[in-house]
Symmetry: T
Subunit: 145 residues, 12 copies
């Protein structure tokens, strides 16, 4: 049975309350429920977590090496600034799929560059919270693959 980690970065705990015109009105709890439902349908074991601390995300990615078969990562703002997270992904064998709720290519210039992209297997963005469900499925397909 596949084990998938869905890992969320800074300020995603405010989902639903933060700029709803950009991120929608679903909360992170809603998203967790959505992911768990998808996982159940696919027969996948899923963990869902969030942190505002770069170091904790690095720790979580390092630990995923032994604990998970794949990671869906919405690194939030750290997507654009954290070489440490990029290095952590590069250091582990577990495949990582990059996810964004909004279409980062339509926003400020500094959101167009992603350190995560250069080490992730692929990216899904702009599809709202439904992107989480697609990402879990995409990782499932990739691992089956």
């Amino acid at each position: 049975m596949q084990r998938i980690l869905v890992l969320n970065g800074p300020n995603l705990n405010l989902l639903g309350q933060r700029q709803p015109e950009v991120y929608g009105s679903a909360t992170l709890a809603d998203v967790k429920t959505l992911c768990e439902q998808t996982a159940k349908n696919l027969g996948v074991q899923l963990k869902f977590s969030q942190s505002n601390h770069e170091g904790e995300l690095v720790d979580a990615l390092q630990a995923a090496q032994s604990d998970f078969d794949g990671v869906v990562l919405n690194a939030g703002a750290f997507t654009h600034t954290s070489i440490a997270i990029m290095d952590a992904i590069a250091a582990i064998d577990t495949p990582v799929l990059e996810l964004h709720i909004s279409n980062i290519h339509k926003r400020e210039d500094f959101r167009r560059h992603s350190y995560v992209s250069s080490v992730a297997i692929g990216m899904i963005c702009g599809l709202g919270v439904n992107g989480y469900s697609l990402a879990v499925r995409a990782m499932f397909d990739h691992l089956e693959g």
Copy 2:
């Protein structure tokens, strides 16, 4: 019943033969079959086409306004050079989802900028030909909404 157009740009007719280490060994015919299967599962009417001519892609996008409910677009090289295609997408109401087989963020610098992104609803990339199946499903979900 939803109508979805899967539109492919230049050199995608060589899929399977062109740089298989980047694009995999499936041919465009294989991809068409995959999309049709996904469409059948979802109960969607699907058209699949390809062109090496920028003008024909502009024509096809303009026509999609009346003939389709959604477009999945892999614009190939025109992703990075065609403002005309970008303007065509902006000119129609039909939603367009951007798709790439490879992770364009890992390749040459000039492949990192996409004119399509600024007018598409979202992007899926780096998931190989399976991305086509996910994109059709994502457009389906988007239209169901």
Copy 3:
């Protein structure tokens, strides 16, 4: 009797329906009528055409060498990307006047650079569809001049 070609590039066939807050509600047929009226007032023979294909615009400009005394060109998106059109203008003796419906200097950065400008005699922009009438008159004056 002067012969003037009014040549339109990609997506201008959607005029009136595409982003009316930018381009206004007049259709390309309306613009053609306006140009013909102006031409009639000035005693000028006028041809009005449009294409979404870069190659066809290059062909049309090359043919203008023998068939027309002046060209009013709204190259649309190709204004910003087509060196081929720029080279065609440079290769013929027929003077070309650049025209834009919107003020391209107020829009996205990539619309601020025009390959056409470096070979056109001048530019009129931002005056809406009335700019077509002014451009025909300006070309008339230039040829008389």
Copy 4:
């Protein structure tokens, strides 16, 4: 009866004597006569003035708010350096049309950027002194609406 101000920036008082290969041999007095003739034909009240002082041009634009219905502005070198003139245009309701005798897009790089463009309704350039006549007419059409 419409009231139009034709306002000229630095060194335009030398017209006819300054680089005639770029600007032609007509003097600013000739241009004034041409504008007055066009204004008479259109039934417009016209004022024509020039200054080498940025501050005086800012003052003139501010005063145009109450004294004129439209402004045709050839800001000369200040086109490329004066945010103060740009701010003055933005601060008044009177529409301003940007005018240049030469095609500024064909000249030195620093002449390609115009602060005026981002607040003017449109631009006419490269049509020689005849551009003044066209600009007065274009402003007339714009005000007629």
Copy 5:
């Protein structure tokens, strides 16, 4: 009674000992006393805190949503690198005023860009530790409005 949080970023705990020619000789304890005095004079409830951890600052800003009416933020080095802090400010309704002890515009190039600025209501800089007193007063005035 207004509640104002004065939040300090990395290395500000070394104030008085770190580069006194830039930051002066007052310690952070002195600054806290100054802020409390100002708050007392204005009849404002004030909390003063500092952290070297980006994640803790994000947490504190998120919590300010419910606990404070306004925030005075000297984000130190994170001013120039933290999109996470910028996103946290954008995600909450509590107004944030940016503060710097030194004039960041006179220093290294990388200190001239502030992610905080694009979401803060305003900035005070270069006025030494007295800037803290002014910032508390400015936030008070802003909230009184």
Copy 6:
């Protein structure tokens, strides 16, 4: 008794009428009254003036050397273009505090660079016309300090 000059640059005479969504509805006369009130409270002698002419601002700054103890300068558009004003500030011993009504860091790119900043003691921006009152107080503190 301290003598403080509050000096305003181009287009600030239009305050209240120019882009009120950016600058608010208070007029420059209102601002003058506000400054005079603050000065009276602090026991400071205050002069308040405005000019649209760069040369007059340079003259005024040079004269401040002997006539004032401190200058609060809102240089308006010249903030971003005038090295002459910057040189004048550098040439005199009188301290100058930079002031902006809006948060210049949130606006067009060319408003983010300030020649004044590199020679001013500090900057206050984004606090609306109340920033004038704070700036006079900040200069008072600085001179006392």
Copy 7:
């Protein structure tokens, strides 16, 4: 017997008439004759074609995979703008030699970058129409080699 395709891009059909000070007075028919003569001398089968349409050049390059042993390509303006042509060259096994009549390194900045160069085996430029003869010979040597 080797089969070599000499493929020409936009505006090369105007050779001899377009900017003769840059491109010389020989026509494309003259160049075709020259190439055929060289081919005859070397015992090579040669096809010579031209198109103003990017899509047709992509089609021709794709077809060359099975029909030719080598391609001499003067892509004209598309050299600098067409990633689609670059991708087509990368997708086929047939070697492609880049050719330019003028020395593109001496001309406008935008002509200095060639997408073709990064996938061609080499480049010959600046030798006028005689470069065609040398290029056919160079391709012959390469294929023999």
Copy 8:
């Protein structure tokens, strides 16, 4: 007796397992042993630590002010992104020597810029884990020197 701190940044705990073609197969425990041996030979007291958290590294550097005579710092990814670490080094008197296992000048562009370099006494890079031994010796010489 000198006291030297060897401080390691994010992902260095994975040494030996992370990209061995870049970093070699020695683990961080091996490196610690190597450093301790060198320290013993030189008669130096040595502490060796690692953290994935930027804030903890800032704390450790601040504490080094009183607890150590010199620091050897391999800041890992934070080398290129952390102004907070740079500021901490600048704020303390303890000399810091920058160390990298790989030659950072041969890698991605973003690894070529080091915030640490501008405040460190020097840099050793590209010499593998043996660089640790050399760095401890270099710091010893520097403190003796």
Copy 9:
């Protein structure tokens, strides 16, 4: 008898008092005396003037067309910002020699670019006030030339 104008730009009236470590302690009156002495030695008629107003310098340059045989211009800060002054020099036949007291190539980046240079016959800089004497002599030689 040659007539030479020595024209000085903004803040040069403060010479001797402004940053003496850069500009020396001689006043502008001293410089005038030095120029007059040199002129007398060479048998040249000399006028010496200064203005802080860009418009007045433009006026003065335009007037030099008829009143002087050569101009020595120290445009001060306007050297780097005034296209209007550059255009005035280009518009007149009178040769202009650029002069700077300090070596502008050693100072801030924005002082390294000179609009004056592209239209002046040459430049003398870095030789202190003695540069004025050399410049008058150089202009004399040039006119004798």
Copy 10:
């Protein structure tokens, strides 16, 4: 009888031993023999030389003015850094043809810019050592005219 100089820059004496995957296995002696054979076939007098010293290459180019009718120049690394060599070519009337063994457009960024190109008649690159033979022939054709 034509006299042609084949001039080689730094490190070309190591040909055959230096990065054979880039430059092939032929030595410079082999290349010399190849050139001499080509020259013999064409009835041309040929000199072949190499130097690692920029000054000697400048000397050789200056001397070519009187001693040779044409120069084939492979300037090696100096292609990208030597304005002195560029100036020497510009200073003599003897035509110079630029040659590179590898396709410099496919390599590091700094190898894409050639100072030689802006003064050479043309360039041949990417054709291996056979390019020398083609270059001698191209120069022969050029001189024959």
Copy 11:
């Protein structure tokens, strides 16, 4: 017995006399003695040389291929400008270690880029003349290694 070459570039013969605040007061003769002592301790054969001529340094590096097992190179100013030296290092098998007396990352921008770095095994900088001793030891370890 290992043979190590310590090679010095331009102006290092002035060591001790040139900017002692940057480079210290030891002369190159002192440095030679220091290197010889280190070599003696390690049982290494050492040659120490210096040249102001780029070509001689290229020659020396080429000769090192057969005469030395390792090179310690302080290329001085050529570090930043010489692709020829970089190419020579790439062309030989002998490992080269880059050395700088000062911390080049703290100096002018143009000293931050090193052509040598991209082909050297590593770099030691900022440790004063003691860096020579460390570099010889580091090369010794590398060769033993």
Copy 12:
């Protein structure tokens, strides 16, 4: 008695024959005579030399430390590329005056940056060969000064 060295860089030995429209028709021998005459008038001992070799110019500048009181340097192309020459000037106490025959600010972009400028006392350019005479006089004044 003052001793002045006039030192010339690459290709200046071709003066009079190289691009006379830029550099005039006087030869370097003429320039030497002119300098000697000026030196005689001023009572100065003068040496005049030229080299195409960067290393020889570095050697000459180093030797000037003991042999000359001042240097007039026309470094030719090395002005723009040689940090080694810049370092040599910085390393000696002898003042160096930068000289150019043409106005380097009017030419190609790469001629606008001078490494010499940042260490020379000043620059004279654009005054033709007469600039040599002025430069010798300027150095004389500087040394007297």
